[in-house]
Symmetry: D2
């Protein structure tokens, strides 16, 4: 079984820019993370977008949907910002592709101490391997169907809706 | 659904002792890792053993088996050394408990740069959540049934046997 | 010989806030850094301010100056934001206290991968131990007198002026 | 003023070998550390040896001494294992080269959480920049002349002798 891992940006992949003092996007950290994970299952990495999910527009969501549609792999992990992860999941859910698509992200960037990124990536990869075709959000050690999840912004976690 | 996470030591949990210059066991890193993962699903952590898996004897494997048998949670992750992970999985497999038990570990200690520990922990937690009752080894981004896995010591990974 | 280490905030000490997605100030990382450095020379840590140096006003600089004046230790390291480090150094330089005062900071927060914070702290502690009384900026592996240094914002380093 | 930084191995530079489970030597971490430190002062890095200092023989110490003698830079930092740092310092001290030579190392490898390596490297670079010609051990936030220092193995630190 093969996995496709698609980067779209999000907190997970932000890095610090010493000149501006801002968190920005550069090269994705995912290739080095996947190497570190010593994965022997076949997988392909696709750097599709590099966006804060608050900046994600309908056209971007369409791009994500098309990337999933044309993916040779039927098991897909999408690394995505948490703020509009549910919205992208909904677009993918309504598209009803015959694939297992798992969205994940991080509350703390992977390059910052105390990040949840590596755990979440591992969790999402197993979920994408094991779940029935459908669209899911995998965060906080839980797997939510796309139509029954929301981000609780005050608490900083995802919960059933 | 609740998860039990049992520590038994292994490379995953080794730490550096500045006085002896050796990698030893102290307090498990798992509680801080699980907190960092921001898990909202209910789980319980059990620090059972702190052993290099090469030092694990039949009596220790029996202890692991009993810990699984008396666990209130039916979904269990065991963090274990890689060298004899298969042997412990076999003892658990033959016990045929009506639970989902997933063994994982790390090729590089969690406290050392470039570790696979956090990815593997996330991967194993999702596998323990989703798999049918049975005993599995979750390493290298793959899920192996207990009776069909071996560690390839030369390559440093697990593979189907 | 005793050292006083004064925290004023700055990039060095910023941490990530998962709820706002911003880099903010919380408890200083300096006590844990100093413990990790295994310093056996006597030193005292003083958390004086927690500010982005762009937000530092004359009154804050006066506070820093007073903290140096009343310090029992004659060798002082000040961890400071880089953007106005020179301005604070000038206020301290004009005060002409009979003490060795070394300002340092970081271009990347200590909690982010690839930070220069620990190196700079070590460099500044040695400079504060060894330099003649006076006020210095210790950054980029160099020690600059307060009146002959500027930050090159385009390059992201300090240089002689 | 130029600096030469010479690697000889030691705990500072050990890395984990996933196949053997041992701490071994590979490529030195120093070039990436020095880059991260954003040093603008001119310096040259010389990977001379890669040894546990307990394995260092007279011939190795002679090699270190010759490297210092032929160094174009008069300010030298040597990264060395802690166990026989004093012995190498003595060989260098008796050679009485007209240079400032500072030996440093780490109690915890740089690649392991909680390491003192980066602080010590920064501390040693400033000491090498500022001290009079002579041979020094820079550890634990202190600068010891070569003839008046010993490692306290039980406590895990250096102290005046």
């Amino acid at each position: 079984m093969s996995l496709r891992i698609i980067a779209t940006g999000g907190t997970f992949d932000k890095q610090y820019d010493p000149l501006s003092g801002q968190l920005i996007f550069g090269d994705s950290i995912l290739p080095s993370l996947l190497e570190r994970a010593r994965i022997t299952a076949p997988y392909r990495f696709e750097p599709l977008l590099a966006l804060d999910s608050l900046d994600m527009q309908d056209a971007h969501r369409q791009q994500v949907c098309e990337a999933c549609a044309r993916s040779d792999e039927a098991h897909i992990v999408i690394v995505h910002g948490t703020d509009t992860m549910r919205e992208t999941a909904e677009v993918l859910g309504r598209a009803a592709l015959p694939k297992t698509i798992v969205l994940t992200g991080a509350m703390v960037p992977c390059r910052i101490d105390g990040s949840d990124a590596q755990f979440n990536l591992g969790f999402a990869c197993a979920a994408a391997t094991l779940c029935e075709p459908g669209v899911y959000v995998a965060m906080n050690g839980q797997i939510f169907p796309w139509h029954a999840v929301r981000k609780n912004r005050n608490a900083g976690w995802f919960e059933a809706s």
